[in-house]
């Protein structure tokens, strides 16, 4: 069974600095997707960035980028130039691209505080 592990329950960063959130996963599949979701205090889940496993190039979305290491099964999120609005829970998630199994497997989340 696939699992997703986020080993950092809490992180903090100074405004304008860079922070990296860790995520590792376990799977025997070769075709899958990885995601980072943000959950601000409003509780809404917002997709931050996604990565297809077959792509070697790391995904980027403005100030957000990932370091995808397929062999190591690692998928970390880097937030550059951190802003106060980045403070939230961040969830790493995995989704198989095989068969009928479309559900996301979630990590337990990392709470990110941004200090002014």
């Amino acid at each position: 069974a696939q699992t997703v592990t986020q080993s950092q329950p809490e992180m903090s960063v100074q405004e304008a600095e860079t922070v990296t959130l860790s995520c590792t996963y376990d799977t025997s599949e070769s075709d899958y997707y990885l995601f980072w979701y943000k959950q601000p205090p409003s509780r809404q889940m917002i997709l931050v960035i996604r990565q297809e496993a077959y792509k070697q190039q790391n995904a980027t979305e403005n100030r957000f980028s990932v370091n995808f290491q397929k062999a190591a099964k690692s998928f970390s999120l880097k937030i550059s130039d951190s802003q106060l609005g980045d403070a939230a829970m961040y969830f790493c998630a995995y989704s198989s691209n095989a068969g009928n199994n479309r559900k996301l497997i979630w990590g337990l989340g990392t709470s990110l505080a941004v200090n002014p």
Binding site: R43, M45, L47, N100, R102, K103, W106, L108, G109
Partner: protein, 118 residues
Amino acid sequence: DTAVSQTPKYLVTQMGNDKSIKCEQNLGHDTMYWYKQDSKKFLKIMFSYNNKELIINETVPNRFSPKSPDKAHLNLHINSLELGDSAVYFCASSQDPRWLAGVKETQYFGPGTRLLVL
């Protein structure tokens, strides 16, 4: 123009009552989901429907019954509410990419419904 909407946003009720949470998506997606997020932030899938058919049914008490009148709606009815049902319930939708080349699998979440059982 909200993509995935849920009502109500907050729900406070007594133990033993029956309540429903509604979800609607205007993205034209085929698949919808219900998740439960407990007080420790753990997000657990409960149900998934594809074109009004149940495709995922995790180990959830029979008191929880999803209903999908059409593929844009997935409602969650809970009978005989218990204290342990207190949580935030998220609805989500996605477009299944198995036969749509190039479509990326992404789930879009609603704002959540905070349920408090007293």
